[in-house]
Assembly symmetry: C2
């Protein structure tokens, strides 16, 4: 019997220092590690043009894209859901628990992550502008309101959907986008939750694997948007 | 035999004019109309405090929250997926088609919608600031790059996943957040796609139902964040 080929996830072979540990293939690697399932990476060269057919696989020219046998698709949230449907330890099958986890998966990606993007734009890309602090203030307050809601929802629970699930992989990797700030310190449940996630062996293995795939030296030209 | 109760979606009984037609219960109403399935609304009073237990149902104190019998959860993306799993006309069951649709569902909510939020903050909330135009420019360019990718992906297709699906409900309602701009005019495939969606009977019924639930007169105090 020919063994099935391993599933494949795309990743970058280089990103700037500030993005290391934040690139979204980490979510998929983490899910694979939780499920104890081997996977292969297809690295996209930061110095080389993308393979010509990459946009047909990942229309936004980003990572991760994913293939499992003949099935090919994109978006880290979709890939987490796919792996969740295959591995009970990533997504409960009991209906209410399943939809709790899927609700929090979407919440991480559509209610929390979008609030953080503007903050990063002010802190990383507009930090030198005279108006950056004024513009940042309401953006930071919006992030704080969202964090406060998640903090409250975690009261008395280790994980968003009760037991560990793809929702936690999404939420904890989303929260990591705030690592350049001290914002989580104001939300003790949330800070403890993030530490709990990052102490998992599967998270540490996934992070090591992403970092190990980066070249040390920067390429001559940056990767795409 | 007692008939099953209808599923319930929460909505607001009033929002400001600029938000009418954009509130996210529209996505769920549209899906119900496509499936020809009756539903009930539970309206949240803009003038009244929320029901005490609402945060346990919708942790961000927003709409929509959803109940179907004993199953209760939140997030418009999760609700679309749930209805997709019940109604083949909303989500194909063939694996590659199913994951194409789910990829585009997440893409609408996690790759496109987050790019639009900053633009709205400059155009609606910071329009009077001296720095608004300077800050807006890179945000608008980012939106344009994302729109360009979706436009290209639509070449030769009526709908994102081939046939109509929950991905289109998500993407078209996301694109509607740009209605205060002329940006779609630069992307003919995308503009035609959005028109195609909004000409569907189910979309028009859903929009009418959302608008019909709004009180004409503003309440004394605004609704929550």
């Amino acid at each position: 019997m020919t063994p099935s080929p391993r599933p494949v996830v795309t990743a970058f072979d280089w990103v700037p220092e500030f993005a290391r540990g934040l690139v979204r293939d980490l979510r998929v690697r983490w899910a694979f590690e939780e499920a104890g399932r081997p996977y292969d990476t297809q690295l996209l060269g930061a110095m080389q043009p993308r393979p010509e057919d990459y946009l047909a696989w990942q229309p936004f020219d980003q990572v991760p894209a994913f293939a499992d046998g003949e099935i090919r698709f994109f978006e880290s949230g979709a890939i987490l859901l796919y792996l969740g449907e295959q591995h009970d330890e990533l997504l409960p099958s009991q209906p209410q628990e399943r939809w709790n986890a899927i609700s929090w998966l979407f919440a991480a990606l559509n209610s929390v992550e979008p609030s953080i993007g503007p903050l990063i734009s002010y802190d990383v890309f507009h930090a030198d502008k005279p108006w950056a602090q004024e513009a940042r203030k309401p953006a930071a307050e919006f992030v704080q309101r969202r964090l406060s809601r998640v903090n409250d929802a975690l009261a008395g629970k280790d994980w968003l959907a009760g037991r560990f699930s793809i929702a936690d992989i999404a939420m904890i990797t989303v929260l990591n986008n705030l690592r350049h700030t001290a914002m989580l310190a104001d939300f003790p449940e949330l800070a403890a939750y993030k530490r709990r996630g990052e102490q998992r062996t599967a998270y540490r293995r996934a992070l090591e694997a992403q970092l190990a795939d980066f070249q040390a030296d920067p390429p001559l030209t940056p990767a795409g948007d």
